[in-house]
């Protein structure tokens, strides 16, 4: 079971509270598709992904970015039950979509970097540590159907 200190709970709530999902979601997914182009394989129906500017301007990417980031809200509101919270999403990603679980880590890394651009020096080492711990729990929960 993951243990969260009060300070960690506060940090996660505070960071999440300041994240604009409509901005950060699209930016994060766009970065994943640009920086790790093999991930585009999972989004064949999204239309034009042929260049960084095409990806950044693609409305399907933007919408899906918002969907993905909004799903983090469940974890923020249920820190003590993240694995259970994502049981169905894990089944979907693992059994149906067959997403390689390494991609969850790539998305988490891109999200951390986008949050860093938005927060600047407020994203200090302690905040980064807590935020990355949170995301690694989410990643583990999403990967849980593989093993």
């Amino acid at each position: 079971m993951v243990e969260w200190s009060d300070s960690e709970r506060n940090t996660i709530a505070s960071v999440w509270g300041k994240i604009n999902v409509d901005e950060i979601g699209p930016q994060t997914l766009a970065r994943v598709l640009i920086v790790y182009p093999w991930t585009q394989r999972y989004f064949g129906s999204f239309g034009n992904l042929s260049s960084a500017s095409a990806i950044l301007g693609n409305p399907k990417v933007a919408n899906h970015g918002k969907t993905v980031l909004n799903a983090l809200d469940k974890a923020v509101k249920n820190l003590d039950g993240i694995k259970g919270t994502y049981s169905e999403l894990s089944q979907l990603h693992c059994d149906k979509l067959n997403v390689d679980p390494d991609n969850f880590r790539l998305l988490a890394d891109c999200l951390t970097i986008v949050v860093a651009t938005a927060f600047g020096s407020a994203f200090n080492p302690a905040v980064q540590a807590t935020w990355q711990k949170f995301l690694s729990v989410v990643v583990a929960a999403l990967s849980s159907r593989y093993f």
């Binding site: 920086v35 950044l56 986008v114 860093a116 600047g120 080492p125 980064q128 540590a129």
Partner: protein, 143 residues
Amino acid sequence: MSLSANDKATVKALWAKISPKAEDVGNEALSRMLYVYPQTKTYFSHWSDLTPGSAPVRKHGKKVIGGIGLAVEKIDDLFAGLLTLSELHAFQLRVDPANFRILSHNILVVLAMLFPDDFTPEAHLAMDKFLARVALALSDKYR
């Protein structure tokens, strides 16, 4: 994943922008590596103070970022350019190469934090590829 001419140009342009703050980048990246990934402290047990921003961390951050700067200069032949550093890391320091990925991630986070407008997705892609190549060059002499 080799560096295209465009990647090299992007890395050099970004590096020119961040050079004035290179020491801060080194300090921040190393501080975060030690704090967020405590297993990395094993290589620095001889230091008096491993907390973010401490004197030994700042001093070593400067050295490390200097190494990255050297890599930028030698971007057209990283394996030859980083040969001595590879031997150092392989035979003397024996740093587990997994840690190169960890430090690279923290460098990217710090670049994003300090240069949000310059660290575009294209710059992110080029830097990620470049740092991966640097890690490969540094690991070259390991076995």
